[in-house]
């Protein structure tokens, strides 16, 4: 089962550790512009949303790419790029609704999240658990049981009658 970065924005405090961890790990520089994950700041309204590549299964960035450098890895299911072919035309950035493609001005190419080979740095650094690296099935299970818990209320009482 492929894992994904599941983002729970309710827990994000906007500390920016994920961005820094990502940038340092990928480029060796403490520069949040180089991060593949970005926190969308809604400071005045009191919430923060980390945004990154969603690893779509049929990614619009790949369809938009003028050089066909974006493809899906059949094994890991990740969206991968052949960086030497990238001409930095930014078409992928325009096609991606999720701010998933970021411009790496050191290499002059566009890059996206690659899950750090199955051990994402951002998840390791996240102090609040807003970022989790779990499978979609698991996140769906969690979501469903949270919903079920809400419906059943705190008492959690079963009221069914015997037939």
């Amino acid at each position: 089962m492929n894992k994904h970065l599941i983002i729970d924005s309710a827990k994000c405090t906007g500390c920016g550790l994920c961005e820094l961890a990502c940038a340092i790990n990928k480029t060796g520089q403490c520069q949040t512009y180089l991060a593949r994950i970005k926190i969308w700041q809604e400071e005045t309204r009191g919430f923060f949303v980390p945004m990154t590549c969603q690893q779509c299964d049929n990614p619009p960035c790949a369809s938009a790419c003028l050089m066909n450098v974006i493809s899906k890895d059949p094994v890991t299911g990740l969206t991968i790029r052949r960086l030497e072919g990238c001409i930095a035309c930014r078409a992928c950035q325009l096609a991606c609704p999720f701010e998933g493609c970021s411009y790496d001005y050191l290499q002059e190419v566009l890059v996206n999240c690659d899950h750090c080979e199955g051990n994402p740095e951002c998840v390791k650094y996240c102090p609040t658990g807003a970022l989790r690296y779990i499978s979609t099935a698991e996140s769906m299970d969690l979501e469903r049981s949270a919903e079920a818990g809400r419906r059943c209320g705190l008492a959690g009482l079963v009221k069914g009658d015997r037939r």
């Binding site: 089962m1 698991e138 299970d141 009221k159 069914g160 009658d161 015997r162 037939r163």
Partner: protein
């Protein structure tokens, strides 16, 4: 390996057996051959073959050589009603024979969805570990932080860590190698009998966490849906359906109680005098509500119990099964509310409730008889003394004081006390269940004797047992049929055999012949993973199961062949037991049943032996020794294991 499995292999099955050796953390994947599937079906059939093939003779049950097998029933994970059961087998530390137990809920579905029809565990881990199996991949994880925790606390941790997963685990009793420790299946269910939890504990294996997302492709979807509906309609029309849905297994205990055929105070009485007021229907109705179902079940015989007042106020769990209720309530003289508490403790500690109640009842009787005293125990024991019993339970689970002796099981513990044998109520080392064969002699009670796992009531049951008729005026060979022609016609049994087994004119059932049929039928159910609750066993026969099996797996099989596959597994287990040292004279009830009366009734040893011989004959076994005959083995394509 991931994802490929589903495409090629035979349908219906997940197609692989996973073998883990805990000693070197090595895992192997074995593909299932179609012939193997047809011959052994799944569940107990797979377990029997794997254990017979791979376990050396005469090993110690708690040694690393023992093999623990989780065999998922074939139909599990389909829409077939009540198909949820998984059989777990190993050499039993309690009986030294084939140890096996069956449980439902969702573990089997998850294991199959994770890509495996069976899980074989060998060797022993150096330090406590648990297994995590997900979609064809297995990892051995450190369980040091879980070791010593009771099973519910462990489950809370694991279920949080792995949402949506199913967990099989042991409690402190299994860790402490209590010989009747069970493997818990989630919070409220267990593979309880024959001490499989101790085997798991001896392997330093705390839990098995399974999560599967792959799914199983049936051979013929439409046919499967059709046969599922058909089976469902059949079950719903059984006269046992409604009562079972309403009262669960307690339903059976009610008539049995009123006819004094229940264990009371270590089988010294036929039934408690206040049984009807304190245990029967009105009380059950008062305490229980709602339903809980296993995978694909349409009966949902389990209910929620909520104790609203008294000493155990606030206790809330799935319970009021007949087994803990009678074993603790009647067998140890506890109140109905206290049995719920005892069941909770049994679940938390991970102990087989029949066995722990049996061994405690023996201890109390020995205390009464003065063979053990307060000094040995550390406190007074008495039937009906809840607190003392709970304390003793705690001692047994942790092997403290007298508990260390009792944790060895009734048979072994009795040997430690002079004259203890007289109070030890077991068959082949396995504690007797709640039915007293003296109260009512029937196919069911003969089954306790012929059972391949020892003194247990769950492997043989007349599919048309008539609970209304307690009084058995016939000699030991017959029981009353008690139904009309319609019921006779509806029974799914080969005509010839039906005519032999049931005599409509005298309204009787031949116990020996029916025993054999019932055992094979239940073995079939345990192979394909269908529940053996009476409404199911009553209506679902080999004909519809063969239809369902073919629709699901695409393997063509006739009802006769299906029954033969079930019989094959039964014979194989018998051969295994003989190899492990089972003696013909082991097949007998505790002396008390032949010597003391309850309700003015007593068993006649000679007559019981005669029925037993008739049963052997019906099986094609040697009449005196109970050894499967050459002819039978050849018919089944088995060769002698020894």
């Amino acid at each position: 390996m991931k994802g490929e499995k589903n495409m090629s292999k035979s349908k219906g099955y997940a197609g692989q057996i996973l073998e883990v050796n805990l000693s070197n953390q090595d895992s192997r994947y074995k593909e299932l051959a179609t012939e193997f599937c047809r011959d052994y079906l799944g569940g107990i059939g797979f377990n029997a073959r794997i254990i017979c093939d791979e376990m050396p003779a005469g090993i110690e049950a708690l040694s690393p050589e023992n093999i623990l097998v989780f065999g998922v029933g074939t139909m599990v994970g389909s829409t077939f009603p009540t198909a949820s059961r998984t059989e777990v087998s190993a050499k039993s530390p309690l009986t030294g024979l084939f140890g096996t137990s069956n449980s439902g809920m969702f573990f089997g579905t998850q294991l199959k969805n994770a890509g495996f029809d069976a899980l074989v565990i060998k060797g022993k881990a150096e330090k406590p570990v648990y297994l995590f199996i997900e979609d064809g991949e297995i990892s051995v994880c450190d369980a040091t932080r879980l070791w010593g925790k009771d099973s519910w606390d462990t489950l809370d941790i694991l279920k949080k860590q792995y949402p949506g997963a199913e967990v099989a685990l042991i409690g402190p009793a299994g860790e402490n190698l209590v010989r009747f420790a069970c493997i818990e299946n989630g919070y409220y269910d267990a593979w309880a009998r024959t001490g499989l939890g101790a085997v798991m504990g001896s392997k330093n294996l705390k839990a098995i966490v399974v999560r599967g997302t792959q799914g199983i492709t049936p051979h013929n979807v439409e046919e499967l849906i059709k046969v599922s509906w058909k089976a469902r309609k059949l079950i719903e029309t059984s006269p046992f359906f409604k009562p079972f849905q309403s009262y669960g297994s307690m339903n059976a205990a009610m008539p049995y109680g009123s006819f004094k055929a229940l264990n009371a105070n270590n089988f010294s009485q036929g039934c408690l005098s206040d049984w009807k007021e304190n245990f029967a229907r009105p009380k059950v109705e008062e305490l229980t509500h709602g339903h809980i179902a296993c995978q694909s079940c349409i009966i949902a015989c389990a209910h929620w119990v909520e104790i609203k007042e008294g000493k155990y106020q606030g206790l809330r769990m799935k319970d009021m099964e007949v087994t803990p209720t009678v074993s603790f309530g009647s067998g140890c003289g506890m109140s109905l509310e206290a049995t719920v508490k005892a069941a909770e403790m049994g679940q938390r500690y991970g102990m087989d409730m029949v066995s722990v109640a049996g061994v405690m009842a023996m201890a109390i009787e020995l205390f009464d008889r003065g063979i053990i005293n307060q000094e040995d125990v550390g406190y007074d024991l008495a039937f009906g003394d809840d607190d003392a019993i709970f304390r003793l339970m705690d001692d047994i689970a942790h092997r403290q004081g007298l508990g260390a002796v009792l944790a060895e099981g009734t048979m072994r513990a009795a040997e430690q006390f002079a004259g203890g044998e007289a109070s030890a109520m077991h068959v082949k080392g396995l504690e007797m269940p709640m039915i007293d064969p003296r109260g009512r002699w029937s196919t069911w009670t003969l089954g306790i004797l012929t059972n391949i796992r020892g003194g247990d009531h769950l492997r043989c049951r007349n599919p048309i047992e008539n609970l209304r008729f307690n009084e058995n005026k016939y000699d030991f060979q017959k029981e009353r049929f008690g139904y009309d022609q319609k019921m006779y016609d509806a029974l799914d049994m080969p005509d010839e055999l039906k005519a032999q087994a049931i005599d409509l004119e005298t309204d009787t059932v031949d116990i020996a012949i029916m025993s054999r049929w019932a055992e094979d039928l239940i073995n079939l159910f345990n192979s394909v993973g269908v529940c053996i609750r009476p409404p199911v066993e009553h209506r679902i026969g080999p004909t519809i199961l063969a239809e369902a099996y073919t629709a699901f797996t695409g393997i063509k099989i006739s009802p006769i062949e299906l029954m033969q596959s079930a019989e094959r597994a039964w014979n194989l287990i018998k051969l295994f037991n003989l190899r492990e040292g089972e003696q013909p004279e082991d097949s007998k009830f505790p002396h008390r049943f032949y010597e003391q009366t309850v309700g003015g009734k007593m068993l006649d040893e000679a007559k019981v032996q005669e029925v037993l011989q008739q049963y052997y004959q019906a099986r094609g076994w040697d009449m005196l020794t109970g050894k499967p005959g050459e002819e039978k083995l050849q018919e089944l394509g088995l060769c002698n294991l020894t």
